[in-house]
């Protein structure tokens, strides 16, 4: 089946079998291997991507379901060579150990900050509860998402006062 998907802002076309999972479309057909396959059972969340800005587990969707829609993967977070504030915060706060869950944590964190720019620790822990870090590095992941929220708020603050 012919599909068109906007991936990280770029329109991509593919001819795929309906049974191809979204994660395989992203990794094998589109060549974006930043999205990881962990448990393959929708438990671990390593395959999380944003579908029209909403986090979904790409191992539990068919690629054809993304037809005509927009996907953001970890490769789409940085813009014009500039890391997304959440990427900077994960680096600064040591929000990763082995790094396997990191792309998903970044996307889930970014989606949370999008709708709730200043989340409490509780809200962050709640939001990432579908993403497992098998290194159990949650302390710094939570800190990094908190720090990213603060960084984004201080970036936005001047614009808000000048308008």
């Amino acid at each position: 089946m012919q599909i068109t998907v906007t991936v990280n802002g770029t329109e991509r076309k593919a001819d795929i079998e309906p049974r191809l999972l979204l994660v395989h479309l992203i990794r094998d057909v589109l060549g974006l291997t930043g999205t990881h396959i962990g448990c393959d059972t929708s438990n671990c969340g390593a395959c999380t991507v944003l579908l029209d800005d909403v986090p979904v587990k790409s191992c539990t969707m068919f690629g054809v379901q993304a037809d005509g829609r927009s996907i953001t993967t970890v490769e789409g977070l940085a813009r014009n060579g500039q890391l997304h504030p959440i990427q900077t915060a994960f680096k600064e706060e040591h929000g990763l150990q082995c790094g396997f869950c990191t792309p998903a944590m970044l996307l889930t964190g970014a989606a949370l900050l999008d709708r709730n720019p200043q989340p409490t620790e509780e809200e962050i822990r709640w939001a990432i509860s579908g993403n497992i870090c098998r290194c159990t590095g949650y302390m710094n992941i939570v800190k990094a998402i908190e720090a990213a929220g603060q960084a984004m708020a201080s970036q936005k603050a001047p614009a808000a006062t000048s308008s």
């Binding site: 089946m1 079998e17 309906p18 049974r19 191809l20 999972l21 393959d40 059972t41 929708s42 438990n43 969340g45 999380t48 909403v54 986090p55 979904v56 587990k57 539990t60 969707m61 068919f62 054809v64 379901q65 037809d67 889930t108 709640w126 939001a127 509860s129 579908g130 993403n131």
Partner: protein
């Protein structure tokens, strides 16, 4: 894991979807959120020849309350139910259950209609709908029928829906002013199926319980209504003793299995405790405290 091959259909309207179901019958599966169907297909426990994706049918999404009932369309996502002010104010048992279903990312896809049509005895919505005495609407090209929730679940993963029917909406009778509800769920970790879940709904009238609904999760071949526990409550005063008696009767009605999540004896005990606690919580809400 790759599912078996299938033909994919993505109708834009309900009528189109119903025609497809008429054409394919039991050769087709309806794809709503896919949070149960896709895992089953990956494991090849299900290999439908046709998948009818109803996610783009706008009329199957959303909820509204009017004429003494709440209508929730089948493809309404759990994440939407979780954040609904209407549910928080008027249907606390639904508001309590929604954020306990699976995990936040799965809730972005999972739907209420899909969950009910899947008929997993460990599903949370089934118990909630038993407690609320809800009905579901099943549509075909030739019309619709309204199915009381007690008549929907036949056995594990099996409903009374016909092969060409699509479950299109859930109808919940609006509660009266002095009512309350609660959902309690014991799970080992976020995203796990319930070890035990209990949904309760109470209405009070002149210091007495005028109606009571209870649904039990993961302690039988379907979601379970412990009828004798409900009966002992109706007409009684909302006292600790009445709630304790209901808990004992609900535990007696439960038929849990010993598995990795706990022994049958333990789960039965949890039912007793959760029914008691849930009723106390529902009473507090009903009394506005």
């Amino acid at each position: 894991m790759l599912p078996a091959r299938f033909d994919y259909h993505r109708p834009e309207t309900l009528d189109e979807a119903l025609e497809l179901m008429d054409r394919f019958g039991d050769e087709a599966k309806v794809l709503a959120g896919g949070m149960s169907l896709i895992p089953l297909m990956k494991l090849r426990f299900a290999s439908p020849a046709n998948v009818v994706d109803i996610n783009r049918i706008a009329e199957l999404s959303g909820m509204s309350e009017s004429g003494g009932e709440l209508r929730v369309m089948a493809v309404t996502r759990n994440s939407e139910l979780e954040t609904s002010d209407l549910l928080r104010k008027r249907y606390p048992v639904m508001a309590a259950a929604a954020p306990l279903i699976s995990d936040p990312i799965v809730r972005n896809r999972g739907t209420i209609g899909g969950a009910l049509a899947h008929a997993d005895p460990a599903g949370d919505w089934g118990s909630v709908m038993l407690a609320l005495r809800a009905q579901v609407v099943a549509r075909t090209t030739s019309g619709e029928r309204v199915i009381p929730i007690d008549d929907l679940f036949e056995t594990t993963f099996t409903t009374t829906l016909l092969p060409n029917e699509i479950l299109t909406e859930v109808k919940v009778p609006a509660p009266n002013a002095r009512s309350g509800g609660a959902y309690l769920k014991l799970e080992r970790k976020v995203g796990d199926f319930a070890t035990v879940g209990v949904a309760v709904q109470l209405s009070l009238d002149d210091g007495h319980i005028s109606s009571a609904g209870i649904g039990l999760t993961a302690v039988g071949t379907t979601n379970v209504r412990p009828g004798e526990a409900e009966e002992t409550l109706v007409g009684a005063e909302p006292t600790e003793e009445a709630f304790a008696e209901a808990g004992r009767r609900a535990a007696a009605a439960a038929e849990p299995m010993t598995d990795v999540r706990g022994s049958a004896e333990y789960k039965r005990h949890v039912v007793e405790v959760f029914v008691r606690r849930g009723l106390a919580l529902a009473q507090q809400i009903a009394q506005g405290s």
